[in-house]
Symmetry: D2
């Protein structure tokens, strides 16, 4: 069966496995203090020369998010996010479990706007002391629905954060795809805009691991304590460092993401040509289309994919490309999509 | 200046102060274990003969809510509430501070529907384990905007909770007003429908204090530990018991609420006749009307009230009646409302 | 039955009840913003002219402690306390419930030493990042066993906190008794030594309430949010302010404490003369003595007191004097103590 | 330099790396739901035929502990542990961060006794409701200082837990070493005694990962939610499953642990013969000896080890053997130990 279910369904790119195999018997000090993490750190820092950043390595996205948020906020402070934001929906209340409210606002194309942030802040201050204090803005880039923030949107968010004395944090689980989607900004720009963010490894070719980047001097201190407290300080931390050596020493991070996006965009184009309605227009490696019951029945026997939403008639389904996706698989998916459409329209004389 | 700002702006009914004065020098064991709390408990139990209930006394509404919710939920469980729910908006993230997500859904007339509860539950189970588990339904009765749940609505909520194995909790900060608004149910019915609820004292004539009622056998055990852990176990607990002796031994709880509602309804009727648009039709002791800038300017010099919302032009303002409100004050407010309307329409030939 | 069980077993001094009765029908804005709280604040500030302090009013001791600690600490920071400290033993894990470890160290005469604080800090830094970060020193004065910190001890604690960049917090549930025990320091000195502390009302003649004093500029900001989040912001906050008007406008705070201490010291002297072993030598209003089984049996029928500890043979029991204790009661207790001793030694020819 | 610093300083046994390499390109569903985790589960279940157990895989020890404890306890409940227990000392307050108190009691040979558990329970119940409720007993086996619980000790702990209605949890970070230390019990016995425990992979030859085993039916439900909430549900969960396939399909778990223990015991014997005082007599893979300043200076240039404690004169140091330790390394360490002793005693004519 074809696999387009997600971008974390296969192991890792060969470069990474090679490093792991090669160093299997080496002795390291662990807890992020070894030379492998140091090398990974340097490679990441080289991507953002404008800022002097701290880099930490954490095993997964939810753990990264909760550790970062817990680290930034004081007890009474809250984080503002889209209603579609990963921390609001798909992390089982992990932020709240650290004691902080997620103030959710309606998304616009999967994104949080500067205007919405300002409204949340103003509303919260109306009865000073009676509502949670919004201190941190959380955005995902690319978003949970495959869209990407523009330079202007990010600059506006930075501006509103500066004005309201708030922090800006980016969940970069799929940051690679965002950067390879044709935007006019780089990791260095991200580092300039965000107080902290993470570069996703798990969904971009690594076996596991996310690299947390802290750019704001005030947020760097004692982060290691929060990691340990959250169970997020890996004993064999060098394994995490190695993921990012593999991703950044020869730019695999970018080439993997670029290929993922290209393949996904092919799928979106074909789906569009085949008259599958798009749920949202994605510019990254996640594609969301509407299918009828018949189309669904046919496709699910050929392809592994995610059901995003059950509609009254039909479904929103999601195809995701990964580091492992091939042109051949994309071509095969196109054939299935065509056949599903034909089957689904056998009775439709206009088709 | 007239005071219609809220229902907790004056001390308490004389019956309660009398008890406090009379017992000032008595020696009690404290921590809810004394005879005063025991008497208050019996008076409350007499209101709900159908159930064998536990009763505890807590100093305020937010503290009551967070203690009850923390007591009921396991770490991964969440509470479902209206977006307008007090715990979602005006408790500064106190529920989240106990580690639990508040899943907010759009209100209907200030109320949570059984249908909305079911949808939250079904959505949360879609990706089993990835979303917080909805276990508790939180409603306020009367609601934050003065509306009241009908018998049918409460029965539906009880039904959906039974079906989904969820608990139903009622925030009764203004339960007196709800019960005196003309509904066809009693405290005994509330006890049958809810797994736990609290009877508000602070906003219904007491100096301070809320009476928590636990009807579900499974939720009774060790509640005292959660109270202590939350800083909610009063050393001189008998003071809290005395509030409810004062409220229930001669039915002041009901007579105070009845009078509050009647006065407020007079205000709503007059405002309506004067063509002030209603923000929402209230059936209790909080009245919400729309006023123009001019009307606002005039009124705020005569009357203390709350600004509920700033509109593009004008305001939503709230008048609340309390145990201390008099017919004379209501009449005077009517005069001010009339004058404000006249002033506001000096240039309007059709008025 | 004589009542020496605790210092919070009777209502309040008449001055306070008078204020409450007199203002019962006044309208106030609530939430600490009214003129009553403002007056109480000024009276407290007048006691500590050396510092510019913030004052807040909270309903009880556990709630005060957890709110203050939660307000001061970041997620990974811990509080250092005696093993006998109230927050470590008798608050049902309320500090841990806010997410913070209480690092308990063996007490010396019920007190925490500067040396112990330094050792905890040094040990915690040994494996940097792997142990909770000790940031706050918690002491009770007077202590849970009736002892009092000397000027030298408090200066040492301040010094070690300055050196290690830690905060010093005093739980003043029985601060009145400490100050009236013959020490050479005042509230003004406390304000100079501590970053924050609270002045206990509940155990010193008030009906309820503690006054939190914040002296450290960095800790003042947004405290009201933490209060609200903890359910500790009283709607009818003026009631709490009134307690401290009653305590400080004519120095009742000090006269009550002075009398309590004098009576308790009489009891300790008599017990000592009667050869009751002292569990610890107290200089305040709590007295701890050892009694045999026979003495215990006799006393418990005449006097309400607390059992502090069950020994292999006999008990440690505690007598506490309160604002309500009279010379007559003390004399009667002396008689009981004498009789118990006689009865307990009927068979002892040497007695 | 020789490496005896810890048992998590090198990658993993070849069997595990082989599986990872071989399956690198396979597509899996993730989140513990794949066939690799299923196989690992079956292998672990085969070790404990007496019980029907649930098995989950988590990335590291601190994360395992906090997830398990958070899952078991209600808000007001506490965990009882040795003062030397890992959760009490070296997890940066991670349990408290989930809201629960760790009640620490003095260890006996690194172990917690049934008697101590009973005392904690009885003391906590003295003032019912005022102290945290002890509900869970936490032990490490082998302990943090290399000792191992006997069958009798474990049976006593089980008994006291049954009697007091408490749960028993074992931190098995080094369970392999405990089982290979010559004890008369097996994994199946552990499963019978404990309500839940984890089998450590990270410190016993795996690249990362611990296997949580839940034997108590009441504790199984919805554990996946707590994992997700804690950031402990790995997207590429099959990697964790593979660790335990590697450890259990050909008994590497036991052979690795056996070898570790044998090598470590050789070191302890030699150290003893060389008259190095033992800090504690270990029966597992961690050896603790006292060295003088001179011995320390010599050794630290030849061998990587941990400093356990700084003494007034000299040090307690720890040597740990790992899956990667060889006989040759042990022999070399013996030579260094001998030389250090010679150098350290050059001036001692009696040596």
């Amino acid at each position: 069966m074809l696999f387009f279910q997600n971008d974390y369904g296969q192991g890792c790119i060969p470069e990474i496995m090679d490093i792991m195999v090669r160093t299997r018997e080496n002795s390291y000090k662990g807890y992020e203090t070894d030379e492998q993490c140091q090398l990974a750190r340097e490679l990441i820092r080289a991507q953002m020369p404008s800022k002097d950043v701290d880099v930490h390595f954490i095993m997964g996205g939810t753990l990264a998010n909760l550790t970062m948020i817990r680290s930034v906020l004081r007890s009474y402070e809250a984080v503002v996010a889209c209603d579609t934001g990963h921390i609001n929906v798909h992390e089982a209340g992990s932020v709240e479990a650290t004691g902080h409210k997620v103030i959710a606002v309606p998304h616009v194309n999967g994104k949080l706007t500067a205007k919405a942030v300002r409204k949340v802040f103003d509303d919260s201050m109306l009865q000073y002391g009676h509502m949670a204090y919004p201190k941190l803005v959380y955005i995902s880039n690319s978003t949970e629905v495959g869209t990407v923030y523009t330079r202007e949107e990010l600059e506006s968010l930075r501006e509103v954060c500066d004005e309201l004395n708030m922090y800006l944090m980016m969940d970069g689980a799929r940051l690679g795809a965002a950067l390879m989607s044709g935007v006019d900004y780089t990791l260095d720009d991200i580092a300039k805009w965000c107080d902290l963010f993470y570069i996703g490894g798990t969904k971009n070719g690594a076996l596991l691991g996310e690299a947390i980047v802290i750019t704001n001097e005030d947020l760097k201190k004692n982060f290691i304590f929060v990691m340990k407290q959250s169970g997020a300080l890996a004993a064999k931390g060098w394994i995490l460092g190695q993921q990012f050596i593999g991703l950044f020493q020869d730019n695999a991070f970018f080439t993997v993401a670029k290929r993922e996006v290209e393949y996904a965009q092919q799928i979106q184009t074909i789906a569009n040509e085949l008259k599958y309605p798009l749920y949202i227009r994605s510019s990254t490696n996640q594609i969301f289309i509407l299918v009828s019951e018949d189309e669904f029945s046919y496709l699910r026997d050929q392809v592994a994919f995610e059901v995003w939403e059950k509609l009254e008639s039909g479904y929103v389904i999601r195809f995701v490309t990964s580091w492992h996706t091939t042109q051949k698989e994309v071509d095969q998916l196109s054939i299935y999509l065509k056949q599903a459409k034909l089957l689904g329209n056998l009775d439709d004389p206009t088709y």
